[in-house]
Amino acid sequence: MKWAHSMMKFIKSKPFVHFILFGLILSLAQVFALPGVGILPTSFARGPGYFMIVAIIVLGYYVLLGHAGLASLGTAGFVGLGTYMTGFLLSRTSIPPFIILIICILLGILLGIVVGFISLRIEGMYLAIITLGLSEILVVVFKNFTAFTGGISGLNTYGITPSFSGLFDLGSGTNLRPYVYFLTVVIFVIIMILTYNLIKSPVGRAMLAMKNSESAAQAMGVSLLKYRLLAFVVTTVYCMIAGFLYMYYYAYSNPLSWNLNLSLNILAAVVIGGTSSIWGILLGAFIVFSLNDIVLSNIVFFQQNPNTIILINGLLMILVVMFYPGGISQLIFQTKLKIKAWQLKRQQKGKPEAIDHA
């Protein structure tokens, strides 16, 4: 049992191992649902697949709102742009997917810099309104720029099998979804690790200082220009990556999907999740986006009354904001402290142990 103990120690000491393990568990969902395996129904992987794509967006928004303290309601438009960019390149050109991904990332950086510069002049609610406007402009473009986007009926890439430039061509007519699922897992794990690294770093601290007080942060040597641009670039790049994966996974993008509703849900996921840990954020994303898909829609009561799902989401949000302004992660943290205190009380006759706040 010694190796098991040292294994546990290794897992505990390296946070990125947690994310890789989480990725492995997620990929199991697809492995079991592969047509040849058949342990789970083939459609099962759709839930986790959607969850991962959304979680990427939410993680980007978490950096923006939770750390840099900037509110944006343009998230949906940026994701939409990613899907259309991917869809267009996929259907009209024979550029391999990884190059498309890089193009999307570059476009995200450009977009982030533009919005970041806007954020230097305009703050708070007004920034949210400006980004909302930007997003709505994008949606109007998606609807009307028919040659590029397919207009109101949407853009689809059904049946197009991208060439992987000879590396491992899949052959036409292959069901792409399992492959895209595994690609999503890999990208999701990388993004979780990068986000974790960023928030547990001098940059994360500088961003928190900026959120707390701009003038104090500037006096400490934090350049607003640099860190605001960075925060927006992170968000838009994540949005574009999510858009890329979405287009790949669903092979369909409709302008109506990229409305304010999605942006608000992403905001809700960050608020419900709380700003103190990545796991809280993922939980928030799960509650807002996947709870009804994966859990509630399997319960008979909710199948008969689908509208109550929205009710539950709203209720949950009110409860969290009222009682746990720090989000669900605060609730978990407090429970942990309580358990530790309780254990301490039990152990008091033995050797006393200090509560570790770190």
Binding site: L110, N197, S201, P202, V203, R205, A209, N212, A216, G221
Partner: protein
């Protein structure tokens, strides 16, 4: 694109008139030269000239609305002065014109300030709060932060050790791992003072350090300020309303009213000065 933006910024900077190069005397650290700041029709600082000597505690006093905080904001570049210059001579002997420095670069020259209301980050521990003041000391901060390279951990460790040393020397080490949220106000003020020391400051600018403190805490603060000046060989420039504190610790006191300097001298001279008395009590 970035190059273009940089060029644009450069063009903006070069619009400000170039001034003749000034060299300050060795014992002068800060020289305000006919500094004025107007907000529309309001003249907050009016043709103010002050010299602060290296190693002294300089107290700036004045009735409410006299423009004291505006002077600080002009030095630390939160406001760009309407006219006049602020010169600073660093330990390396170079004199720089602060008007040309960006607000977040002021700290790089060894000038750091505090604020009237304590500005600490609740989400970070006290130790991490101190480390924020060293953000500019990291190299390749963005890439290394994303990748968590060993180099970043090395730098992190060095900076954390420095922060811990400062906390210990001010007797704050027991608070290092807790959030400043919920700590007594006096302690938070001290933490803010500790944070200024992270920047290896040559000039510390304190904006009403004793505001909101009780008598005992004020006395402790006075001790801490003196200790910082002596142990870290810095110069301290403070604005304060608490007269016993200013008169007790300052080497030189300057009094301003309606943005104009009315007197400079030792605390005793200021206390006996007729113009200062008039400014505070009014004439009959």
């Amino acid at each position: 694109m970035l190059e273009k933006i940089k060029q644009m910024l450069k063009v903006n900077a070069s619009k400000t008139p170039q001034h003749i190069h000034v060299d300050l005397d060795e014992d002068i650290i800060l020289d305000l030269n006919h500094l004025s700041m107007r907000f529309g029709g309001l003249i907050a600082v009016n043709d103010l000239s002050i010299q602060v000597r290296r190693g002294e505690i300089f107290g700036l006093i004045g009735p409410n609305g006299a423009g004291k905080t505006t002077v600080f904001n002009c030095i630390t570049q939160f406001y760009k002065p309407t006219s006049g210059d602020a010169y600073f001579r660093g330990k390396n002997g170079n004199t720089i014109r602060l008007n040309d420095v960006k607000v977040h670069d002021v700290i790089k020259h060894g000038i750091i300030r505090t604020f009237q209301n304590v500005e600490l980050v609740w989400e970070l521990t006290v130790l991490q709060n101190l480390m924020v003041a060293n953000t500019t000391k990291y190299h390749h901060i963005i890439t290394r932060s994303f990748l968590h390279t060993p180099k970043m951990f090395q730098e992190n460790q060095a900076i954390a050790a420095k922060a811990l040393g400062i906390l210990e020397s001010l007797g704050l080490a027991i608070y290092k791992d807790v959030s400043p949220y919920g700590l007594p106000y006096g302690i938070r003020k001290k933490i803010e003072l500790a944070r200024t020391l992270m920047a290896d400051p040559e000039l510390i600018i304190l904006d009403e350090p004793a505001a909101g403190l009780n008598d005992k805490e004020t006395d402790e603060l006075a001790e801490t300020i003196k200790k910082i000046r002596d142990e870290y060989q810095t110069t301290i420039f403070l604005v304060e309303h608490d007269m016993p504190l200013v008169m007790g610790i300052s080497d030189t006191v300057g009094a301003i009213n309606f943005g104009k300097l009315i007197a400079v001298g030792t605390p005793k001279q200021i206390q006996e000065n007729e113009a200062v008395r008039l400014a505070y009590l009014g004439s009959d």
